[in-house]
């Protein structure tokens, strides 16, 4: 209503509190719609409660009980005492004992352990002689946060613990030397760790959204009715919707890795072909999961919410942001179910440690399994009728 009309015609006067009434009308309508959308309503409650309890308990920036391997070249009381002392610090948890250097290196490279302790041959004798031999502790420093606090605690704590055992005097009198060796990222440059992880995080977010909206978009735009009346099968719809984005994701991944190399100086020690191959697998896995979401939800808003609900744990529980080994076991199980967890391991291993396929078998199989699982759910969930 224009002002001139208002003046000329008294009945057309703006009603009292018009602004508030109209805002109120809109507000009531929005509440009604919100209440009708059960899933969104549930997510409003679920999202904060679930995420907070999940992450609050799971995330630990000073991780303990980190998986550690031991390379023992002699079996002596002193060696056992030292290992015991290390385990008593609660930072290290000995999971494997190996006898060759090759096995020792493989465990570190594949990421099965974060630390390796080497007790060299003739260690005890050298201590007795007063030669101050070196005890080698190798750390996988691709993630400086995970390795840092344990390495920092190593010297003083072990010395204190041993002091009692060996009846030696003050720490300066330690009969041997602990030589810590940070492998792969010796300067503890966190960018070297973050950039490969970001490849996976960015891909997770973009890929998930692409396909999460795809089926609901067809339903909301009414095109689904036409599509379903034509002779096309659920698997065909799925492949048709996923494959274009594999290419999109591949371009995106290339871009991120190129920027990582050129701007941040992140090395690619391993094979680029292997990296491209496994990145494609990871992209496809995420697209499949997004597509699965799309077949479960009813509208695009729900699709976005579900994607967010998947994305947050992916960032926080995958080992990208916080040390995976530092999480409680139950949270690690959740992490194993997220594609990003496996990809972060793969991409760090290939780029920073120069890992090859044999080191990455487990994570590759896990990614493929997650992809097939998502695809199966999507195909069975896809409704072929409008019932």
């Amino acid at each position: 209503m224009r002002a001139t009309d208002t003046i000329r015609n008294g009945e057309d006067r703006e009603p009292a509190f018009g602004f508030w009434r109209r805002s109120y009308a809109m507000l009531v309508k929005e509440f009604i719609q919100l209440r009708r959308d059960r899933v969104s309503f549930a997510m409003i409650i679920m999202l904060p409660v679930m995420q907070l309890t999940l992450f609050g308990y799971a995330i630990n920036t000073t991780p303990r009980n980190l998986p550690t391997a031991v390379l023992t070249q002699e079996d002596t009381d002193l060696g056992r005492s030292i290992l015991k002392a290390m385990e008593n610090t609660a930072y290290f948890h000995f999971v494997r004992e190996v006898h060759t250097v090759e096995q020792f290196d493989e465990l570190l490279q594949s990421g099965k352990v974060l630390f390796g302790v080497e007790i060299p041959r003739g260690f005890e004798r050298a201590v007795r002689r007063g030669d101050r031999p070196a005890l080698l502790v190798a750390a996988d420093a691709t993630d400086p946060t995970a390795a840092g606090s344990a390495l920092g605690a190593l010297g003083p704590l072990v010395q204190t613990a041993l002091a009692h055992d060996l009846h030696v005097g003050d720490p300066p009198d330690m009969p041997f030397e602990i030589r810590a060796h940070a492998r792969y990222n010796p300067a503890a440059d966190s960018r070297l760790n973050i950039v490969p992880g970001l490849v996976g995080t960015i891909l997770t977010m973009t890929m998930l959204i692409f396909t999460a909206l795809s089926v609901t978009r067809e339903i909301e735009r009414g095109t689904m009715e036409s599509l379903l009346s034509m002779p096309i099968k659920p698997v065909e719809v799925m492949f048709g919707k996923i494959i274009p984005y594999v290419l999109v994701g591949f371009i995106q991944a290339t871009l991120i890795i190129a920027i990582g190399i050129l701007l941040f100086g992140v090395p690619v020690l391993g094979s680029l072909t292997l990296l491209a191959l496994l990145t494609t697998l990871f992209i496809t896995t995420n697209l499949s999961i997004g597509y699965t979401f799309s077949t479960i939800v009813q509208n695009q808003l729900q699709a976005m919410q579900l994607s967010m609900m998947f994305f947050l744990p992916s960032i926080l529980l995958s080992g990208f942001m916080f040390p995976f080994a530092g999480m409680p076991v139950w949270a690690q199980y959740i992490g194993e179910g997220l594609p990003l967890t496996h990809f972060v391991r793969i991409v760090r291993a290939i780029m920073l440690k120069g890992a090859a396929m044999p080191n990455l078998q487990y994570d590759t199989i896990a990614l493929a399994a997650l992809m097939l699982f998502a695809m199966t759910v999507a195909v069975t969930r896809f409704r072929r009728t409008l019932d």
Partner: protein, 319 residues
Amino acid sequence: MNGGPTSAQPDGSRIAIDVKGLTKSFGGREVVHDLSMQVKRGSIYGFLGPNGSGKTTTIRILCGLLTPDSGEGTCLGYDIRRDADKIKRKVGYMTQRFSLYQDLSVRENLEFVARLYGMPDARGAAADMIARIGLKGREEQLAANLSGGWKQRLALGACTLPNPQLLLLDEPTAGVDPKARRDFWNEIHALAAEGLTVLVSTHYMDEAERCHEIAYIAYGHLLAHGTVDEVIAASALSTWTVTGEDFNGLMAELTNKPGVDMVAPFGTSLHVSGRDKAALEAAIAPYRDDSKWHWQPSEPSLEDVFIDLMGRSKDNFQG
């Protein structure tokens, strides 16, 4: 176009649609009730009924988009429950709401359909269809930017593209101007002449009269079917047409008289109808001598019959 009435079919039958006892409920409400119908090959079958009468639901059951709660039947000789995939290959379904891709061009939409049906030369088939539906020069226009009439042509083109044997058209002419409607019906008759069977739902009476056979459905019940003449004859409705001036008073007085079931103005005339001929005549007798009006016995129109059917079905199924 292939699939003429005499072409070999799984059962070699001359019946395109043959269903019995179809029932479908949504959330406890029965939308289609015990519906049986037969549609001959090569005929145009009109499906009439008020909004929410179950027309769309029936059509969706026929093309496999919905599963009936009970009932059985065949569509082009294929079982509607088991052979939905085969039915989809041979049936073109035009949805009530435009359901092609708004963000694809005319050509891209048609090529998509052609590829989806595995036609050997998708580009060629699409180009031919563009010429046939008169969209030449608009091939590259996005579907979203087409007017209602053009959208409807595109939709018809898309569902006839894979050479179906049966077309299911759900209110194809809703919201389309009279000229476009007429062109559309000419096209449908041309397709039927080529042997295509067409089931078309509509609200328009003039369109019903363009069909070979019609069926009237209300509240999920099939109330009448046959040719237009058969449906009118079966209604047993008697109608008088009144011409003259000042109907308003007359209408009000007649509406509640026993024997008068329906009073409807048609421009300068008034249709007064009743199911009982004698009672109707008794009711109008006092007005027939008034010089203001001229009374003449006439045939009820299809609309009279349908409105009467609707009124009766309301009493039966909603009361």
